[in-house]
């Protein structure tokens, strides 16, 4: 811009370039400056710790004596630790049974709320509130709801001539009990589904209606594809969260009965903060990390088979 007023020639070109690069430098400086909290946060709370935990994996350390080099000994130990397999199976059970059910419940609630009903905000409140209450508070309550003798759940089952079930005291029922409770906590997913459903263009549904599609076919062929990115999002977030479930089991069962609810993060927590096996706990955390990443990658790999993105064919 200012270059046009200067004398022509090589000199000007280099001046322009220098001036441009000064502006670019300023842009770069400001860009880095404004994003520096996040960049520092990633380095200090993600990259640094992850590198540091590689050191931990290779050492035996109880935080009292100096760390002792162990090589890959922790992984050998895992193979001989029956609780590792147990907690992996428990976590997988909780995730692969729980998350699909959570998605179905959250989606069903959202579809119901998406109709023109009276008292929408009341229902929205009722379904959403549980998911934002402190976990300790509702975990304490649910222990009571699941109580075999006085619990409300068994009372309801009794009306139908079922039960009583020993929920949290019987290995076979403890995980289903926690999954039932998790269905009560799907409010956040529901709100996201609801936002998605409200974003489905009315014209598309009307066009399908004119073409003679009934409500069910419109739902399957119009609504589901349009909001498939949201289903995908909820599924990814749900699986990542479910693999790392901790608070509720810590409070409600502490892994019992007979380790039926010993999930991975609880076992990692015990090793790190109760037994002070920092290296072993860090190794377990890495295994869980890799498992979660693998499942996330698999989902992304299959995503383009069923997730529909607007503007992409």
């Amino acid at each position: 811009m200012t270059a046009t007023t200067s004398t022509p020639g090589i000199q000007t070109q280099s001046q322009t370039r220098r001036r441009m690069s000064a502006a670019q430098r300023r842009d770069l400086r400001d860009g880095l400056l404004f994003t520096s909290p996040f960049i520092f946060g990633v380095l200090a709370l993600w990259v640094g710790p992850m590198l540091y935990s590689i050191f931990l994996i290779l050492h035996k350390w109880n935080m009292l004596a100096p760390p002792k080099f162990l090589g890959l000994g922790h992984f050998e130990r895992m193979l001989n630790d029956p609780l590792v397999g147990k907690s992996l199976v428990n976590t997988a059970y909780y995730t692969f049974v729980g998350v699909p059910l959570q998605l179905v419940v959250a989606f069903a609630l959202a579809v119901m709320l998406n109709q023109q009903i009276r008292g929408l905000s009341v229902y929205r409140t009722v379904y959403y509130l549980p998911s934002i209450t402190p976990a300790v508070a509702f975990a304490v309550v649910w222990v009571q709801i699941l109580n075999p003798e006085f619990g409300v759940l068994n009372e309801v089952l009794h009306w139908f001539g079922l039960g009583p079930i020993n929920w949290l005291f019987e290995p076979a029922w403890a995980k289903p009990a926690l999954i039932i409770m998790s269905l009560w906590l799907t409010g956040f997913q529901m709100i996201i589904f609801l936002a998605g459903l409200q974003g489905v263009p009315k014209e598309l549904e009307e066009a399908a209606e004119i073409d003679g599609a009934n409500a069910w076919r419109r739902f399957i062929n119009v609504t589901i594809p349009i909001i498939s990115p949201i289903i995908f999002f909820n599924m990814i977030i749900g699986i990542i969260g479910s693999f790392q479930v901790f608070t509720t089991v810590f409070i409600m069962t502490d892994g019992g009965p007979q380790n039926a609810t010993l999930f991975m993060v609880l076992y990692i927590y015990r090793n790190a903060f109760e037994l002070f096996r920092m290296g072993y706990a860090a190794s377990l955390a890495w295994i869980l990390f890799l498992i979660i990443m693998a499942f996330t990658a698999i989902q992304f790999f299959f995503a383009n088979r069923w997730v529909y993105y607007e503007g992409r064919l």
């Binding site: 996040f38 200090a44 931990l56 905000s121 934002i132 300790v136 409300v152 608070t247």
Partner: protein, 263 residues
């Protein structure tokens, strides 16, 4: 059917409220008496007499407010750099941001604990709220999506007037981000208020307990007094309910701001 389902979801909360107002002898009477004939409000005062819940409330609010302030400021700053500025490397930083949203935090739990121990932060409130000042991917993303909807002419006009980026952010852009700020405030506050694992790992002195730890302690010591445990739970839940009623819109907006979730 809607009503039946709604009541099912409401039932646990109703049970907390009704039990918290009962006499010990009334708790396990079946069929359940949903509305106690003589509500015993003194249960709530009894909770404060048994454990210092006023300290837990103070601690929880301190951590939540500090964390929330940090989260709002960092989201505004970083989102500005990612949405209103053009610079080489921006897309890379944004990609990293999206990636950290999907990284399972479990992998950093132990090394971060050791790092905080090395700088003598274990046993202080710092590990509970300082990380928020570096931003969190979800909130930055939400704020960026919102800032992208504001016209770029705003910045250009201010730039012609000679305003620096710093001034543009705080005097032009930030005042327009009210809805996104409100949503982040609510979410960040609740995230810190509800946090359990961090206080569990980092706080050991009982006078520094936050409400979740205090409630767990209360349950451990007075677990047989269900009417009191429920009153203590209610004390913990009540701020959340109050916030929700005053800020319902922000919760719903939160889902919409993310650009309809990952699209």
């Amino acid at each position: 059917m809607m009503i039946a389902l709604g009541l099912t979801f409401l039932m646990p909360l109703a049970w907390v409220v009704s039990t918290s107002l009962k006499l010990p002898g009334q708790v396990f009477i079946t069929p359940i008496e949903w509305i106690p004939t003589e509500p015993k409000w003194d249960n709530y005062f009894e909770v404060f007499r048994r454990l210092p819940f006023h300290l837990f409330i103070r601690n929880s609010f301190f951590v939540s407010i500090m964390g929330t302030i940090g989260m709002v400021l960092s989201s505004l700053t970083v989102a500005y750099g990612l949405s209103r500025l053009r610079w080489p490397g921006r897309d890379f930083v944004f990609t990293v941001l999206l990636a950290t949203m999907m990284l399972p935090a479990v992998v950093t739990m132990i090394p971060v604990f050791i790092i905080f121990k090395e700088i003598n932060w274990v046993g202080t409130f710092y590990p509970l709220w300082v990380p928020a000042w570096f931003g969190a991917a979800f909130y930055i993303f939400l704020m960026r999506q919102y800032m992208l909807t504001l016209p770029l002419e705003l910045d250009e006009a201010a730039k012609i007037d000679g305003a620096s980026n710093f001034r543009i952010l705080w005097q032009v852009i930030a005042p327009l981000c009210g809805p996104a700020v409100a949503t982040i405030t609510i979410f960040a506050f609740l995230q810190h208020y509800n946090a359990f694992m961090e206080p569990l790992i980092y706080i050991s002195k009982s006078e520094m307990y936050t409400l979740p730890l205090g409630l767990l302690w209360f349950k451990g010591r007075f677990g047989n007094f269900w009417h009191l445990v429920m009153a203590a739970s209610m004390i913990t839940i009540l701020p959340v309910i109050i916030i929700f009623f005053f800020a319902q819109r922000q919760f719903v907006q939160g889902a919409q701001f993310t650009g309809l979730a990952g699209r």
